[in-house]
Symmetry: C2
Subunit: 304 residues, 2 copies
Amino acid sequence: VSVALPRGSRLLLTGATGFLGRHILERAKDCGAEVFATCRNPPAKSGGVRWIAADLLHPEACHGLIAEARPTHLIHSAWIATPGVFWASPANADWLTAGIALLKAFGDYGGQRFVGVGTCAEYDWSGEVFAEDRTPALPTTPYGKAKAAMASATDAFAARYGFSFAWGRVFLPYGPGDAPERLVPTLLRGLLKGEDIKLSEGTQVRDFLYAPDGADLIVRLAASAELGVFNVGTGVGSSVRAVAERLAQAVGRSDLLRFGALPARAGEPDTLVADMEKVARLVRWKPLHSLDQGLEATVAAFRT
Amino acid sequence: VSVALPRGSRLLLTGATGFLGRHILERAKDCGAEVFATCRNPPAKSGGVRWIAADLLHPEACHGLIAEARPTHLIHSAWIATPGVFWASPANADWLTAGIALLKAFGDYGGQRFVGVGTCAEYDWSGEVFAEDRTPALPTTPYGKAKAAMASATDAFAARYGFSFAWGRVFLPYGPGDAPERLVPTLLRGLLKGEDIKLSEGTQVRDFLYAPDGADLIVRLAASAELGVFNVGTGVGSSVRAVAERLAQAVGRSDLLRFGALPARAGEPDTLVADMEKVARLVRWKPLHSLDQGLEATVAAFRT
């Protein structure tokens, strides 16, 4: 299904070489806008996109970037995402400072629509429902706190400058291009090597999101005029166990899974599944891939 | 009841000439810390406080202020508060930017405890309970949005630098020094002049807070080690009608009140009363004055 931004739109994407960022960039290419992409070290091949090199952690860089791209639409996906590090990194506060410099520059240059990439870690995880306007934001990690602050700052700057915004709270993306340290690539690598895979009981239920679907929703949010926070998930919960079993089946090695060999991680909720009612109602969006379809495509990409 | 900060503490107060700020400054003078106060134009009389002139809306000013005062404790009360203007002013986003510069400088110079002055306008007003960790922050005004963003940013920077923080959400302060345009001074001025006072039905219920009591709680939060958001209110709801009647009685002019002569204001909640359970449990604080006592003291101060 096509998404069209108004004629003459200039869409800038930050974090365009990140995991989700690459999928957003692919999805954005045929949205009708002139597409600008930024990262510290742009790739040699432009891929039909205008790349601008910028290190957003230098706040002057934000101003320079906006002055050059003059975006009408901005998708802000850049943030620290290093596996194992990002949850507690002091860089989270630096990314918040950078984000605010970006909001200010976007407003100063007449930007119209801002979409921020947030996280389910902004929510109070002690409840069972994760709904945008009913579940308090009570993050417990530096990552969640800084993202929640950026969400609130986005709302404040949108009110200051009169631009519109959406803030997407992303659940658990997986898919081609995922970092090797994360769940699905770790499992697939072990399974394909024929190694025993040690897991917890795997009973925790998560909202696994095929990354190209998440990217589709984020670009749709950029094309929409709806305001506020929107979950970026599927609304369907699957256990970690089910994901591992599906991957093991796909490569024919269900014999390798050792559930219960590791203890459960402390401090993680049993269930973390997006309430997608608001997105369905206001954005009229549904995921394009089931978990089985998404995992199948991920396995195929991993093998090539 | 005395409040003691650790020996050798340096307490900096911003917005020290504001309505609530002046009461906080009075309350802070005997807390055992060396007290620094800042505003754009310090008063000629120091009043036993070290004044530092600074315009925080110039972000470099935040760094210079912290470098000079080297506070261990910071109460950040400065913000736009011009009656009738502050709700929608674009300056709210500028105060957010300033606040973040202040948080960064405070962390860089080894600050230990930060207390921010927030607002009940950060809450979702559509509910009936206003509890710190259960009621979502869903502000609808530029003022509420920027304060909510500052609350989240404070949490993020505290995590970044390892300082502790409390964020006080202030309900409806009244008392000596209140701006002439606000409810209580407007009523008192009219009553003392013998003018007819036109009011709505006055059925809306609010948490009216005697400002010196609010200041007491804020200084206590600075002396505490408890983390997170705390309501600054009384937990007792009173109707606007009851406040007007009490003031009219105090000056012997109950004949002047004309309830129903004005329409109710749109967009305001029927009830806005702080849930004070968390403060009672963790800070062991209760208001020092009843509404009658606070209004009586306010009338006395107004007449002098």
